[in-house]
Amino acid sequence: MSAELTRHERPSVAPGTASTASAFRVSDAVVAYDGIPVVRGVSFEVAVGETLAILGSNGSGKSTMMRALLGILPLARGRIDVHGIPLRRFRDWERIGYVPQRLSAGGGVPATVREVVASGQVSRRRRLRRGSKADDSAVDDALASVGLTDRARDSVHELSGGQQQRVLIARALAGKADTFIMDEPMAGVDTESQHALAGTISRLSENGATVILVLHEPGPLEPLIRRGLSLSGGLIVRDGPPQAPTGDCARPGHDHVHPHAGAGTVIGTVPTIEVPRRD
């Protein structure tokens, strides 16, 4: 409901550029490793404000597709437009909030939650300067949005898996991302934190953000997904609303989270997540 409202509130797109209404437009994309195609001619469109899951098993090509959307892997053939601009010429990457599967430990040099979140502004901040007040307050807001304000000075490696995932979402928010690509956000997150994380993700989409979830299976995020794109063998085998869990929710002990139910109490101090409006 609220997502619909947000979409209608947006000023109408510039005339003649119908493609600005889609966050991603993929046409006949082929991605290959060493000449072997892993994604073999995939076409789909992701509307602005949509919550989409790219589903598939290992080797289905979903992660490869995700990397191509992020511009990490080149296309062997086909075309990807990001917010109406061909991927090759797209420069506004801070709009795209990539949330990797996990926070990398790297060589073990500690970093605080705040440092990691502020690093999301890497392409916006002036060189050789401290961050501006606006930058700092964007970091504060991002931390508040994911309910980690009180952990800002802690080392990220002291947090739980779910909290680390929220740090990564906050990093994207601090860079003013309005389009999120999340790689298996629930992997390694304990059941308790799954509520908070699902709440964060659902509030992102309620506030008009485009959310692409790359998932092994819908699992606990199922209630959030309005459209599922199943990949198998590098091809789309299904595109549509996820199959209804035929009375599954009625079954006691079903394994997914209802974000609207528990989220408010888990991170009760959290206001709304502000997703920047761009036209």
Partner: protein, 299 residues
């Protein structure tokens, strides 16, 4: 202490050592986070070939070392990204190539002998000339300027290369910046601790600092402080005890590391956090090259 600074050579040595102790941990922090702790060692071996080339062509060994080690750093980086052999094998090739080239070339040089070689292998801080001090100071300023300029990008790159790519950062260029900056640092540090122990000053202060800190910035600052203290303390100790300065500096840094491990353990226990749960799953391996990491290729 007054006796120490009466001698001109000791003044120059102390300045050079302090600059190395200041600069090496700064680039070292990024190298450790990027799991390239041994990169400095690889470049150090290559620098030896550069030194020998300087003697052979009777040009300044520091200058030739600078050129050859920068070229070596670029080769290591390219091999790391492109080659199908694992990164550590590529690095090993450069280790052997660098040291063999150095030994071979220095044998051909007319006015060099094994004592010259030893000076560069293990450092000869007491023979630092006024000109050397200027070169070291200029390179130190250059390294700090590069880190200051690219700092934020390098932080993102060293945290997660994939994220850096998704930000649209020039990952290949930034990797070369790290490699060449490390090469500059190696040449600065070469005169003080020698090519064989060069990366100790890049890695050990960082390894010590990260036992006690939670922030990247603070880790770098503390590592710098440890580096300067170890460099000045080691040099002074070597002066009074008449032992090898390079080795004393490295051993002092290692002593600080041991103390930091103990202190960090106690502090975390007092805070009620068991150190084994700091990292949720696999512990980070400090100071190792990724053994079979061919990059993040998966489907």
């Amino acid at each position: 202490m007054t006796e120490l600074v009466q001698y001109d050579f000791m003044q120059r040595a102390l300045i050079a050592a302090a600059l190395v102790g200041l600069v090496a941990p700064v680039i070292g922090t990024f190298l450790v986070q990027r799991r390239l702790a041994l990169l400095g060692d690889g470049i150090g071996h290559v620098a030896l070939t550069g030194v020998a080339l300087g003697f052979l062509t009777t040009t300044s060994p520091v200058l030739t070392a600078l050129i050859v080690s920068a070229a070596g750093a670029i080769v290591i980086e390219l091999v790391r990204v492109r080659a199908r052999t694992s990164g550590d094998v590529a690095l090993a090739l450069l280790f052997y190539g660098g040291i063999a080239g150095g030994v071979l070339l220095i044998g051909l040089a007319p006015d060099a002998n094994s004592a010259t070689l030893t000076g560069f292998l293990f450092g000869s801080v007491s023979s630092v000339s006024q000109e050397d001090v200027y070169v070291v100071a200029a390179l130190a300023v250059l390294v700090l300027a590069v880190i200051g300029f690219f700092g934020r990008e390098l932080f993102v790159l060293c945290q997660d290369e994939e994220v850096a790519r998704a930000h649209g950062l020039p990952v290949r260029l930034l990797s070369l910046v790290i490699a060449v900056t490390a090469a500059l640092t190696v040449v600065i540090a070469m005169r003080v601790v020698g090519v064989l122990m060069v990366s100790a000053l890049m890695v050990v202060p960082v390894a010590a600092a990260q036992q006690l800190t939670r922030s990247f910035r603070v880790t770098m600052a503390l590592a710098t402080a440890i580096g300067v203290i170890a460099a000045l303390g080691g040099l002074s100790t070597a002066f009074y005890a008449d032992v090898a300065p390079g080795a004393t500096i490295v051993l002092l840094a290692l002593a600080v590391f041991s103390a930091a491990v103990g202190t960090g353990y106690l502090v975390r226990h007092r805070r009620g956090r068991s150190p084994s749960t700091r990292f949720s799953d696999e512990p980070p391996s400090v100071g190792t090259m990724p053994q079979t990491d061919r990059g993040s290729v998966s489907t």
